[in-house]
Amino acid sequence: MKNMDEIGSILNAVLGKTGGYEASALYYRQQRLATRFADNAITQNLGGSEEYIRLTLGQEGRRGSASTNKLDADSLASLIKRAEAICGDVAPDPEYMPPLPQQEFPQLSGRFCEETASLTPADLAARVGEVAALAAAENYRASGIITADHSRTVLANSAGLHASDDVTEFKVSSTMHGPKGSGHGSAAANLAAKVDLRAAAGKALATAIAAQNPVDIKPGDYDVIFEPGAVWSLLLFLAFNLDAREAEEGVSAFTDLVGEKVFDERVNLGLRLDDPNLSPPPFALNGLATRPVEWVRDGILQRLNHTRYWAGQKGVEADPEVVPLYMAGEDRSTADLIANCERGLLVKRLWYIRYVDRKELLLTGMTRDGLFRIEDGRVVEPVKNLRFNESPLVFLKNVCGLSRTERVDSWEKAVVPAVMSREFTFDSKTESL
């Protein structure tokens, strides 16, 4: 892997040949090991790395970009020519934003770990072996993936901005199947040592065992306890709808709601830099420094996400990325939430969530890998999977309990609690196990 000095030299050489333009260059490299398994055996085993440079040139409001994964001198010269040709070929953009000057980037710890970056194929296979053995001991079938990634991102531009980030990620995701039901467990951290593989796989197995032979349940409105992974599956759609401009144009569920109490007062959503389980990247890919943001405080919508252009129009500070999202929890466990639930459903995982109506933020999706009926504060039996048509707005408005937070990692990263909420609408069932 190229070191920071080598990358800096490459980017400076590229930027040095783009005189007359406002230029931004992005270098990205990922080194990955990924071991997939199914039926308690490794089915795919992947290793390798890739890198690329993306160059964006601007001039008098015109903008063009080109990228390449060949970093030799000829390829870089060709990259510059292509970006120049694209930039010179188009009309000015009325919303063009010039490159940012140097920012003050937060110093974030715990993002990189040499031990994680140095894991070998044999290391990952040994971990898969542990998961497979756990399943095989109960005559269950484990499937899933373990990954170890090391990514390096460097930004530089003609306005003097320079930023770099090294991050490692270690993830395990496993689903265990028995004859009549399944369970899922996952864990992720920047440092492999912080991932409790046996706990994640053990959770998948325990859920699968408990989920066998689910009974029928009628669709309807239920009090629910969503485990953190299910919470994030739903909130991801909410996060993607926090755009300030869309709200002003009347096409978003958050139109005219800034300053309003939208959710239960226990709901606090934002971007934090100080959570030990998930430090965000120090910058967005447009160069904006990451900073703490409060989207929702005590159930009141505080602000919406402003792009650089829209922030300029509105005279407010531009926001970096919405994710990773942080949702505050309370000092109790999921088991405590269950103990406080008279009648309801425990939802382990959601699947195939899509918009039904974007303006209302109405979503559909299904439960999978364990759905359980709760009665008088106890999980009493597994039930068959259900389809929901519901909005995360309603889910957060009806909150009646939160657990401690956990890091979750599905498509994007977040730290969220388990959430207990009233009257969540399931409107059909699926026989699939």
Partner: protein, 482 residues
């Protein structure tokens, strides 16, 4: 390139591999994205790299790199060997093997009448800016966006069977969407004809500019339309809508790797079992699905898959009965089949080829005189649906809920007024068994789908579906709380 492929295969052979291949992928992409009246993105991406697969001691290893030189090729092949050896420590019950496939040498360049990479970017940007401007000039349209995406991918494949393939295809994909807001309501309307393996001629034939105003007006119309009714109703579904229904409820359930449980952790499994082949009534007797590997313009018309299998059309459902599953050289032997039907594909050099949906289409009705209006005429109360909207199906590919892009209430055999927020729910085989009417060949349309996600780490694949307008009886409509 041949020298490097031979070098990688030598490393694998020296390690005792039962099979190995090297796949060099060169990819060029051009993306033009306009939002409102702003050209947000004009990008050209170029990448190249290679992946080496090694089957050793009944286990697989895969490694990739972007550095195509002697030293790196050897290191990458050695890493693939190490990955295979690591895999063998947690072995499959039945050691992995490859169904035989004849060695092939071929060079294919897909049809491309007008090179999209040679069309000036300014022309492409102006097309989108003009189309968005026309849409934004329609009263109550508050947002519009459009994108043109072009891909040229060259795959050079060599394997230890002796195959040497050089395969290039070009893809053109337009998108356009209008967003209207009326009162507290907001609705969208999209371009609905998908993508094609073709050059810029496909963009010209799509007439984005000519249709943009109509699409914008239809977005406004949807805002003012009645909400979806609730109850059991007949549905008349257009080809642009059926593409996704076919994809989710027929394409994915008939992937053999999913049936074997290899995607159980994320994408899910299937209600289909290998023993269903030749026995299972998937749909009514007018339902005939074909894997159209030779479909002209089909996004999956690759000539050869990444296993080096020469691609041909094959039937998947005939007269409603399931007659085949999509398989690869690796999955076929696991259910006792002697050869692959060519469904092994990767989305790039750094991805492991996996079992994928090929082009998959519904054959048109046998009576060419039947039109979509004829199907509607025989509906007392129902809904006509065009285009893609909400779509969601369970992890066994059984229970589903679909929306669409444009909806008309049918009463007394006629389309009477537009609707919005329509959803319908059904289960895969009861849905396809309820199909009792199908328009003829003249109504048949392909739809190229660009974004089929599968695998871990996730891969995005392209394939084309197709159908004539079909009628389905007695489907649950309007289950979603509005």
């Amino acid at each position: 390139m041949k020298e490097f492929i031979d070098l990688a295969l030598d490393v694998a052979n020296a390690a005792g591999a039962a099979f190995a291949d090297m796949r060099v992928v060169e990819k060029r992409e051009n993306v033009i994205f306009v939002e409102r009246r702003s050209l947000k993105q004009l990008d050209e991406y170029e990448s190249s790299g290679y992946g080496v697969r090694v089957l050793l001691d009944g286990a697989w290893g895969f490694a990739s790199s972007t550095e195509l030189n002697r030293e790196s090729v050897i290191a990458t092949a050695q890493l693939a060997v190490a990955m295979a050896r690591a895999s063998a420590t947690v072995p499959q019950a039945q050691p992995a093997s490859m169904a035989p496939s004849p060695a092939c040498t071929d060079t294919i360049v897909s049809p491309c009448l007008e090179d999209p990479f040679a069309v000036p970017n300014a022309e492409k940007a102006d097309l989108l800016l003009s189309a968005c401007d026309r849409m934004l000039n329609v009263q109550d349209v508050v947002m519009a966006w459009g994108m043109l995406h072009f891909i040229r991918m060259r795959r050079v494949i060599g394997n230890t069977d002796g195959s040497r393939l050089d395969l290039t295809h070009t893809v053109s994909h337009p998108m356009l969407e209008a967003v209207a807001a009326v009162g507290g309501e907001s609705q969208v309307r999209n371009y609905t004809d998908g993508a094609s393996q073709a050059g810029y001629e496909f963009i010209r034939s799509s007439d984005l500019l000519g249709n943009s105003e109509r699409w914008a007006e239809e977005a406004v119309m949807k805002c003012k339309a009645d909400d979806c009714p609730v109850g059991k109703m007949d549905l008349v579904l257009s080809p642009s809508h059926l593409a996704l229904t076919i994809h989710e409820s027929v394409g994915h359930p008939t992937e053999l790797d999913r049936i074997l449980g290899w995607e159980a952790n994320m994408a899910g499994k299937s209600f289909v079992e290998p023993g269903f082949v030749g026995e299972y009534q998937y749909g009514s007797d007018i339902i005939n699905f074909t894997a159209g590997n030779e479909l002209v313009g089909g996004l999956g018309t690759w000539g050869y898959d990444d296993d080096g299998v020469k691609l041909h059309d094959f039937p998947v459902v005939r007269n409603g009965k399931l007659v085949a599953l999509g398989c690869t050289r690796e999955t076929a032997p696991l259910v006792g089949w002697s050869k692959s039907n060519g469904c092994c594909r990767a989305d790039g050099f750094a991805s492991v080829p996996i079992n994928r949906i090929p082009n998959l289409y519904l054959e048109p009705g046998t009576d060419d005189s039947v039109t979509a209006d004829d199907l509607i005429a025989d509906v007392e109360r129902g809904i006509y649906i065009e285009g893609r909207g909400s779509f969601s199906i369970d992890q066994m590919r059984n229970n589903f809920q679909f929306g669409g892009d444009l909806f008309w209430l049918i009463e007394g055999g006629k389309r009477v007024r537009p609707l919005k927020k329509v959803t319908y729910q059904s289960q895969t085989t009861s849905f396809w068994r309820s199909c009792d009417g199908m328009a003829g060949r003249h109504d048949w349309r392909p739809f190229g789908l660009m974004n089929c996600g599968k695998g871990e780490p996730g891969q995005v694949m392209r394939m084309t579906h197709g159908a004539s307008t079909c009628r389905f009886r007695n489907i649950d409509v309007g289950g979603a709380k509005l």
